[in-house]
């Protein structure tokens, strides 16, 4: 039987990472996600599974430790919150450029700058459009429950290794701090060195006589070679778009209006659907589970059915741009959200729908 626990989202993510057979975690404390490293340290992972947990001197060092570990074919991860994620972007760009698998969790808080420690979704652009320099994408998973925080840790590792690409789990302060019932998966064994050599033959494990040396780098001084590499990356991202788009719909079958929301906003929006339906408004919800790849096609299809769409985000309106691209002018698309760490109430969402979409 699977194990049932009441856990915070951050703790569930940490526990799930251990059970996913993670080899190393490298992080730097920042609210509201410090529970991840606290939990891992308290668990004595070096005794439990042999997993290394190291508190780095900065987010910059932490992400570069991830680079080093990922280059060895190890399952490594880091976590942070918005200001710390800004610091990590250099390393993430190198990781994407060198095509290294790793898992990164961002418990988003309100910005810009030091901002607030309360939950927000204002890192959508940073998360889905690259974040650092150069043409690259992360696979972005957006959990909306503690259960998904637990489920997405192993999924993120699987996707990261399948595509040799960093995977971002885009959480927020609310998902990280809340406790819910969570069903934990069984412990996966950590990979042996023989398995690493077999599964990731590109990894730096020490040059043996039977192979050429392995080099991990993102540098190509020849611009034509660099362009070839970029074309290869773009092909990979298209493949990811084809194969890995994930989303969930809620009461869309007969919907006249549609909310689109991810993470915490999706939970609020689900309640908003209930409130609207009680008032006789046929409202549905589409929840993107992957933000890259974005569920463009299902949104475009629903745009043929509904008469208006409200993108609900705890930001000034970032995902709404992708929604508009998907809808391509077929129906009205508006944004509603609160900023700076303020969480909108489900009631407010319904009111925004009425004023901006139904009455607007």
């Amino acid at each position: 039987m699977k194990e049932l626990r009441l856990m915070k989202g951050n703790e569930a993510f940490a526990e799930a990472a251990i059970r996913a057979g993670a080899d190393g975690y490298f992080g730097y404390p920042i609210t509201p996600q410090s529970e991840v490293m606290e939990y891992l340290m308290a668990e004595k992972t070096h005794e439990r599974t042999g997993m290394i947990v190291l508190q780095a001197e900065s987010e910059v060092a932490a992400i570069n430790m991830v680079y080093g570990g990922a280059s060895c074919g190890k399952r490594v991860l880091t976590s942070s919150s918005s200001p710390g994620m800004s610091l990590k972007q250099e390393g993430i760009s190198y990781i994407a450029g060198a095509e290294l698998p790793c898992v990164i969790m961002n418990a988003v808080r309100g910005g810009p700058g030091l901002g607030t420690i309360q939950p927000a979704q204002s890192d959508y652009f940073q998360s889905t459009k690259g974040g650092g320099h150069g043409d690259y994408r992360l696979i972005v998973l957006a959990p909306s429950s503690v259960q998904e925080m637990a489920d997405f840790a192993p999924l993120a590792f699987d996707l990261a290794f399948k595509y040799r690409n960093p995977v971002l789990v885009l959480s927020d302060g609310a998902i990280g701090q809340m406790m819910e019932k969570v069903e934990l998966q069984e412990q996966r064994p950590r990979l042996t060195e023989e398995e690493i050599i077999k599964n990731t033959p590109w990894a730096t494990t020490g040059k043996t006589a039977n192979r050429e040396r392995n080099i991990i780098t993102s540098l190509n001084l020849d611009s034509h070679v660099q362009e070839e590499h970029n074309i290869h990356l773009q092909k990979k991202y298209r493949l990811i778009e084809e194969n890995e788009t994930r989303f969930e719909t809620f009461q869309t079958e007969d919907a006249d209006y549609l909310l689109i929301a991810y993470g915490t906003s999706a939970r609020l929006s689900q309640k908003a659907v209930d409130i609207a339906r009680a008032k006789g408004i046929k409202l549905g919800l589409l929840r993107p589970i992957t933000l890259f790849p974005f569920p463009t096609k299902p949104i475009a299809e629903l745009a043929n059915q509904v008469t208006g769409i409200l993108s609900v985000e705890m930001s000034a309106g970032q995902m709404v741009e992708d929604v508009r691209l998907a809808v391509n002018g077929k129906v009205k698309v508006e944004h509603f959200g609160r900023m700076g760490g303020v969480i909108p109430s489900p009631q407010e969402i319904v009111e925004a729908l009425e004023s901006k979409i139904i009455g607007g």
């Binding site: 009441l6 420690i117 609310a174 701090q177 809340m178 609020l268």
Partner: protein
């Protein structure tokens, strides 16, 4: 059944742990639960609150603006949350330290002298369990057997010796809660 509860008071009163025990008891009783704290720089002595939802169905929003029950343990929380109780809902408060008593007449209001009772038991730490007992008397959302399991699960093993005192406090709370204003 869905019960949406806010518990609010000072940090250090055991607001968050009371919510956690209630939520864990819900898990033991095979309910869906969520526990959403106000987090941040609210340290001991500052205000702290937690939203607990216990339901037979999948919980949508863990964050609410209206509650079935508000459990209020200081004046700041009374000022903030009295108006958030749904009409017909319940407000439970400890009058100790309350300077302005609840004035609404569209909700059921109960008081529980939990701080005094815990002090007279010589166990100020179980104050929050006295309050929990009072709440369960009014709204038995989880069965007593699951409360026991919830205590076992949410208290660290080194504190398991305290479980009998906690349960005694819960029983005491059930006895001493009294109505202040009831709707017909």
């Amino acid at each position: 059944m869905t019960e949406e509860i806010i518990i609010a008071g000072f940090g250090g009163q055991g607001v968050l742990s009371m919510g956690k025990i209630l939520a864990y008891s819900g898990v033991m009783g095979d309910k869906e639960v969520s526990w959403m704290p106000s987090y941040g720089p609210e340290m001991r002595g500052g205000t702290a609150n937690v939203t607990v939802i216990i339901s037979d169905e999948r919980i949508s929003s863990p964050i609410l603006s209206a509650y079935d029950t508000a459990i209020i343990l200081n004046q700041q929380s009374m000022d903030k949350f009295e108006s958030s109780v749904k009409p017909g809902g319940i407000l439970i408060y400890d009058p100790n330290g309350i300077t302005r008593h609840p004035s609404r007449r569209d909700i059921n209001i109960y008081s529980i002298e939990a701080a005094d009772e815990a002090a007279s038991m010589g166990l100020t730490k179980v104050f929050n369990m006295v309050v929990l007992g009072g709440f369960l008397q009014i709204k038995p959302v989880v069965q007593p057997e699951y409360i026991h399991k919830g205590l076992m699960k949410s208290l660290p093993v080194r504190h398991h010796g305290m479980i009998p005192e906690n349960e005694k406090a819960i029983e005491k709370g059930k006895e001493i809660i009294k109505p202040v204003f009831l709707l017909n």
